[in-house]
Symmetry: C2
Subunit: 455 residues, 2 copies
């Protein structure tokens, strides 16, 4: 047996005590986010009306490299972190590859994903600011669950607007949120003006993420002592998620392993950005070289087929504009697409790193993603989330290339979470009823042409 254990757990005293802000090491910074009304860079004051002040500061700070993780957050992290860096011995054997495959597993907490890393930070700053609660939207419920857990820990009110179709068809995550004490409203609801308006205009509508965002923002700004929080895309979220990459790097360093390739799935970029931050930092400082690959669904290919331009971050067009790789905020992936990562754009940090060619991107089709997920589940004993399985797909592809070339590459990928709440999609795959969908150039042209025109 190798001297590298199946699972590398850091000791508690080896866990990161600071988050890393990769923007500080970028010579060319991501473009500033813009006020959707004035199209001017958002000020701290403007941003503090929507977000907690401390989080607004983090959002706008592109020069401070390290932020101390507050003690209260470190204590919470110790409940479910460090997460293991797992050597996929069984998968390697199954594939017959000389490559060494490692995955950083973020699914060992009830939210089932890495989302908790930022949820607890955002809840902490809300509590510290003396707020009563926070509002957010959620689609399938991964982010909403993480936020509910975080808010229950700090005894903070949590109001979740859940897209109505998910609220009704995926009641289980809703119940996890309620068990944590959150209020979950099907969106469009009758709680907000925008919700009532949409319900009146489109009776019987099953909602959309754009609508849920609008409701959550309205609820935040119209209630005393509330702010709005978001689980991806933002720079503050990538900052908090850097804990994934920092732990990964510490675990690799501990065993003297040099990663050749780092692979992560990319929807809004929270996991990918967090995983790669310290590695990208080394590259930016000229200290190391890695092959970093962002994996996105072929049905929602913002990096591989989008444009790099200012766009709305939300379909409701209430949030600031960001310069990013985007398919246009009016783009909605086919309902046929089961595997998450449905966001039209991409974190502006990830976008800028991609534009600087520090990272590459690849898109994969969902049937091949579920095939990889099934292979992985059968030998590694973890049922992966469809999102995470995008990274598994490319990790397997790369390991098979090593089989041909005989290269002993160290392949590291992010396993963001578990698929326990995604069994409807697995069933579709098991029953042979899953098909692939790739938007046509015309589809993309249409949504891209509807984007705002900003220099």
């Amino acid at each position: 047996m190798s001297t590298i254990p199946y699972k590398i757990y850091l000791e508690e005293n080896e866990m990161p005590k600071q988050w890393y802000n990769v923007r500080a090491d970028m010579k060319k910074k991501p473009a500033p986010i813009l006020n959707p009304g004035t199209l001017q860079p958002v000020t701290l004051e403007e941003l503090s009306g929507i977000f907690c002040t401390e989080l607004a500061k983090q959002e706008l700070d592109d020069t401070t490299p390290y932020f101390d993780i507050p003690q209260e957050i470190l204590s919470f992290y110790r409940m479910y972190r460090p997460s293991p860096l797992v050597r996929a011995y069984c998968l390697e054997e199954k594939l017959g590859t000389p490559a060494h495959i490692y995955y950083k597993f973020e699914g060992n907490n009830t939210s089932g994903s890495h989302k908790l890393n930022s949820a607890i930070a955002q809840a902490y700053y809300a509590k510290k600011q003396g707020l009563k609660g926070v509002t957010t939207e959620t689609g399938a419920g991964q982010w909403g669950t993480a936020l509910s857990m975080a808010c229950s820990y700090f005894d903070l009110d949590c109001q979740v607007y859940m897209v109505k179709v998910s609220y009704e068809q995926k009641p289980f995550r809703r119940e996890v949120m309620r068990t944590c004490g959150a209020t979950v409203a099907p969106s469009p609801s009758m709680n907000t003006e925008v919700g009532r308006k949409i319900n009146a205009e489109f009776p019987g509508t099953t909602g959309s993420l754009g609508c849920a965002i609008s409701e959550a923002v309205e609820a935040a700004v119209t209630q005393d002592g509330y702010r709005y929080v978001l689980g991806s895309v933002l720079a503050q979220v990538l900052l908090h998620q850097s804990v994934i990459g920092l732990e990964t790097k510490a675990a690799l360093d501990k065993y003297g392993i040099k990663a050749d390739m780092i692979i992560g799935c990319a929807g809004g970029g929270s996991n990918l950005g967090g995983l790669i931050s310290p590695f990208a930092g080394e590259m930016l400082r000229g200290e190391a070289k890695y092959d970093i690959i962002a994996v996105e669904p072929a049905s929602c290919p913002s990096l591989t087929r989008g444009v790099y331009a200012y766009d709305f971050c939300d379909t409701g067009k209430v949030c600031p504009l960001a310069k990013m790789y985007t398919l246009g905020s009016s783009f909605i992936p086919s309902a046929n697409h089961a595997g998450g990562l449905r966001y039209h754009g991409m974190s502006s940090i990830v976008s800028e790193l991609y534009d600087q060619k520090l990272i590459s991107a690849r898109s994969v089709e969902q049937t091949s993603v579920f095939e990889a997920a099934t292979t992985f589940a059968r030998v590694e004993g973890i049922l992966p989330a469809p999102e995470s399985s995008h990274a598994i797909r490319v990790a397997i592809d790369e390991a098979l290339k090593c089989k041909e070339t005989g290269e002993e590459k160290n392949i590291v990928f992010g396993l963001t979470g578990t698929g326990y709440f995604d069994m409807v999609a697995y069933q579709k795959y098991n029953d042979g009823e899953m098909s692939d969908y790739i938007p046509t150039d015309e589809d993309l042209q249409k949504s891209i042409s509807q984007m705002p025109k900003v220099d």
Copy 2:
């Protein structure tokens, strides 16, 4: 902060390499299991017709104290073990108790529970014997999922008979099993003679565990190269599950912690028996003293209200008889009962230890169990399985007693698994629609009077 970390993970080289057979240290052994036809102790030959030969040997061996864990099983264990022994700092703070609470968490694997510890052992011996596959029954699907995972690892065929009502109403675990490559049939099925007969006699029946066992046993004995496997109650299962207790003891010893109290939920006894085995062994050898508590549902109270006598292990009456605490094999807990642990009897080892007063037992009602589960989920960040939450209930009760007395007891309990597939029960609790049920003395008298008469 205390020097005891939130989570104690053993190093791989500290993991147990042998299972411990507590029967070896019992002066008065559990009574032998009997052939249901002859009412004589079952022979190895008889037992080998149903179970793999090596497992049948383990079942009958009450003198060998340690069994080497085969290398292949150790490798599999390393995929998800060691499981953490967690110090429940946040729960202690919430309760304001001076007690130190620890829980051994077995839910960090896709089967969601400790069941995998024995499933992989049973699959291994089946593979080693050159069998083609195994058959089993499952209710809600926890055991079936664990067995499917184990069989996929050894490339062994796995046929699961799932009670039809669960098959239809709880499709998610079914899909996890199918994703692992298992065949899942709703029971009663048309695959077996007994299934066809029951379907003909009771058209539209939604099945029962007794019926599913009968189908699984028939499928095992009528197909070449198949054996039947079972996830609880049996002595072999407790042997494999001793890995839980051995790891727990090693982790406590590593930090010089002396447990005062060890608490486990008890249905068939697989988790409780595994957790307490090494501690009970110390007591049996006069080396230590612990307060060991088995916690069962008030709606299915085999230890606290049953009789200690020979009974059928299955409602279908095809398996051997065991001397155990039992409510009678015809006892079926109220449909109102949501929290698992629905077995009418109790492992004969646990029963004998209880009869010798080495362990005590307590029954708890389900609304108080879900209240404890919710408290735990909100502060410890793990959504517990309803079964595990029986142990949480008593751990909290005992910690609150310590708050009154000021005692700094070390309370250790087994957290057998996660509740991700139990959200219907949580919803019922969240909606205030859960009630309690305690069988009347007459209910119990009736099922107990139907038991076989064996001296």
